[in-house]
Amino acid sequence: MGARKPIVVLAVLASMSAIGFVACDDGSNAVKEPNPTIDSGGPPPVVDGGGPLPGMDGGGPTLPDGAPSDCYLNPKTHLEIINACTDAVKITKNPTLPLLAADGGLPPLP
């Protein structure tokens, strides 16, 4: 995957970040990265900003009752597959990286 694709993905995610959501996962398997001195100190990158994940049609994933979700129950596309609902251990990590662009895009290599 080249550097350009993530920038597009991040831009899409940024456009969705203001929408509230209710997680389908209760977080019981979510592990918070314990390294506040290194990874905290600023707002998280937009890609992990807490908004719902976008569907390819512009809508986010939903629970069977229609409530928005942070994971996909019936994934089909790449973005849905990598964010599919799972009971596996998951780690929350939202590092502050100064070189990232405001939209979360990657800087060019030196």
């Binding site: 995957m1 251990v89 929350t92």
Partner: protein, 401 residues
Amino acid sequence: MTVAVVAAGVGLAKPAEAALCSALGAQPIVYIENGDTQEPLVKKLGAQLIKSATPVRLVYKNRRTCDLALDMYTPNLMMTDAIPIKYIPSPAEDPTWTPLSVSPSCDADAGGVTINLGIGATFLSSCTNLPATPPPGLAIANGPVQSYGFIVPGASSQIAITAQEGYLAYGFPQATGMAPPWVDQALRYSRGPTASTALTCAAAMGLKGSQLKGTVPTGNTSTEVLNFVATSGNPEPTIGLMGTEVYDGARNLVKLLAFKGFGQRYAYFPDFSATSFDKKNVRDGHYLPWAPTPYITRIDAGTGKATDANVQRVIDLVFGARTDADVNGLDQVIAAGLVPECAMGVQRAFDGGDLSLFAPPEPCNCYFDAKAPQSTTKCSKCVDDSTCGAGKCRRGFCEVR
């Protein structure tokens, strides 16, 4: 590629003269060049093959994927040189040898020997030294899936890395990427740009193998990276690239970080958790640094099979197309930490490429779960389809189809 090169006690001088591989015994030999991540499988399968009622000896050389592929494409011969040629000893030759033992070395015939089989460990499309299509008479089949990851010392407090952190840490020199704690280039261990580990990990970070900045050990081997990371006196900024099946055999020495890809909400381990071996997240698409292992061999144009019947036997065993009474290749694949295609639920077309859903023609998810180390399956056992409802009895378990 900007790299520092350091020594890890791995000499590059030609080893002391050993016996000729061709004179070891009467067993037919399959000469293999394989990525060093595939050595555990070669040893496990070779241990069964040498003891088989119809024995075959595997003689192999660890080689970077793009280099071994070029050897097959050219073709080049296997020579006695700085990289040792190893072989699987028979019980008569060494009754104490196991796949966990160091394999003994032998010498190629004067002038070299034909390499029968190349086993790479990533997409050959990532190799910049190869033509777009293989030469006539050479076939490439994608074998079991190999996953890769980022290892840190056991004393490191880190448990996850994001693709963006990897891009900044491995794509920028020294601390200019500002991706703490990985800000010391000397402690970011990598592999050369022809190694599958470098190519697949780089792709997961949005980089090319040639763009990796870090420290490549003198011998450019997984073993060296493992040793450097495990023994680092400065754990926090130390990190290395590693095949997960090599890591699986060294979990007492280092930790593997969970990985969060571009566009992903959480980071995941290749397995269900940091302590399991089920490759769940590789199989369902939550863990992204992986690639199939290409099997490269010469084939007969008429049959489509390998020109050497023993090579075809090895391929069929590894791919699960054949099970001998005394050799079970699929079991060795799973035990080696690889994922057979029949246990995969996703696929991709090139390194770092998007995933799509995959439905193997003859799924083996239940069998994989039953055989993976420390894993169990919830599937029902069966002898035929009659007890599987709408499912299908495969390899002794009711699969969903």
